[in-house]
């Protein structure tokens, strides 16, 4: 009982503020949460870089192709971080929730939810980085196959991006086309 009371008290205290301030505060929190997605690409690209160094040390003649594949794969692995950055930027510079009609509580929660949703970017970041690393390793072993390895790697990475896109879609829906406001 005490817990319930505490939460209700907290929410009432929140609502005592100016709704716009509450929404903006929640946007700030959401923007911060969104950037936690940076964990994924960090790990993934680090793995790719390590595999690249290993491949070049094993086969110094393949340095050019290996570096190219590593950069390609790492740039694609970056996507999740970029998507999270986009959501954060939206919430900071083009926040559609300020002028939204609805309960301040719902709007605030949507902002935080949109930010939390982008944390899903960790997964594709790590996964695509792993694909990039393995692709780099393969090209290091057989530089002549660069073309087909890159193709396969890109296709696989595009598929791996899907859950990140799901998260982005939900995030954008929460921000721009929120069905919860009318309920």
């Amino acid at each position: 009982m005490e817990t319930t009371n505490f939460i209700v008290k907290f929410l009432e205290w929140l609502m005592s503020f100016d709704p716009k301030a509450v929404v903006l505060g929640a946007s700030a929190i959401g923007a911060g949460f969104a950037m936690i997605a940076g964990i994924g690409p960090g790990i993934g690209q680090g793995y790719a870089a390590g595999k690249g160094a290993e491949a070049v040390s094993r086969n110094p003649k393949s340095q050019r192709e290996t570096t190219m594949v590593m950069l390609l794969g790492a740039a694609v692995a970056e996507t999740s971080g970029i998507l999270a950055l986009v959501v954060a930027l939206i919430m900071l510079f083009g926040n559609p929730l300020i002028s939204a009609e609805g309960s301040a509580l719902v709007i605030m929660a949507s902002a935080i939810g949109a930010g939390l949703s982008m944390i899903a970017g960790i997964g594709p970041g790590v996964g695509q980085g792993y694909a990039a690393g393995k692709g780099t390793e393969a090209v290091g072993k057989r530089p002549k196959l660069q073309s087909s390895v890159v193709r396969t790697m890109l296709v696989g990475q595009a598929v791996a991006q899907t859950t990140g896109i799901y998260a982005l879609v939900i995030s954008l829906v929460l921000l721009f086309a929120n069905p919860l406001f009318k309920m």
Binding site: V150, V159, Y166
Partner: protein, 233 residues
């Protein structure tokens, strides 16, 4: 020095429709490319020297890239691939010249990725027949149909947002940096001429505009080629 927002400024209005600097910069790039192509292909000599050599190298590289990634029979895609590569590449770099990159506008990037999406579906249907193409979505299990559809739709979304996010991030960081340097100059040296803006941003420009810009244009082009040729198999 206030920052009123990072969106594209409106250059003028056609009636009610705003024409932003995105569109005007794109017009500028189109004009430059048109004049360049026209002048270079007017008098082509047998021996390639100077500018002609550069142009031939560019065209040859794009042709080879297309043939390598899409197969010999799809070499006719080279002009589209080349358009993507040149347009996105130049758009991304134009930040170095003080103009706002058109690709920092979601409309541009989504337009390009939707074009790619339409081409993918069109050529997929053309080479496999509408029935065969639709059946492709039921593989490996018919139950995965909604996931396959969403996966197919995810491609242009990720393409567009990836390019947009990268370039916009660069734009915002450079704007903030210039603003900060300007404030510092005022603070530290008491000048209104932002001296500190010279030199220091160059390094970041090289990373964000040059490296990331060219890399992203290359990735966009590669993924386009992979998607279209993948749909035709």
């Amino acid at each position: 020095m206030g920052i009123e927002g990072f969106g594209p400024r409106v250059a003028f209005f056609i009636g009610d429709i705003p024409v932003t600097e995105t569109v005007t910069v794109t017009w500028f790039i189109m004009f430059v490319l048109f004049v360049f192509s026209f002048l270079v292909t007017r008098n082509m000599k047998k021996e390639a020297t100077g500018v002609q050599l550069v142009v031939e190298t560019i065209v040859r590289t794009i042709n080879n890239l297309t043939k390598q990634n899409m197969g010999e029979k799809n070499a006719a895609f080279a002009p589209y691939v080349g358009t993507l590569m040149l347009l996105i590449g130049i758009s991304n770099i134009i930040g170095l010249f003080g103009l706002r990159p058109p690709t920092a506008d979601l409309n541009t990037t989504m337009c390009l990725s939707i074009m790619t999406f339409v081409l993918t579906q069109f050529f997929g249907m053309k080479s496999k027949g509408i029935g065969g193409y639709a059946k492709g979505f039921l593989e490996p299990i018919p139950l995965l149909l909604p996931l396959n559809i969403i996966g197919e739709l995810a491609n242009p979304v990720s393409l567009g947002f990836r390019l947009f996010g990268n370039i916009t991030a660069g734009v915002i960081i450079m704007t903030l940096l210039y603003g900060a340097l300007g404030s510092f100059t005022q603070l530290l040296l008491g000048l209104t001429v932002p001296l500190l803006q010279a030199g220091i941003p160059a390094v970041l420009h090289i990373y964000f505009d040059l490296f990331a810009g060219l890399l992203q244009s290359f990735i966009f082009t590669m993924l386009t080629m992979v998607f279209i040729s993948g749909a035709m198999e």
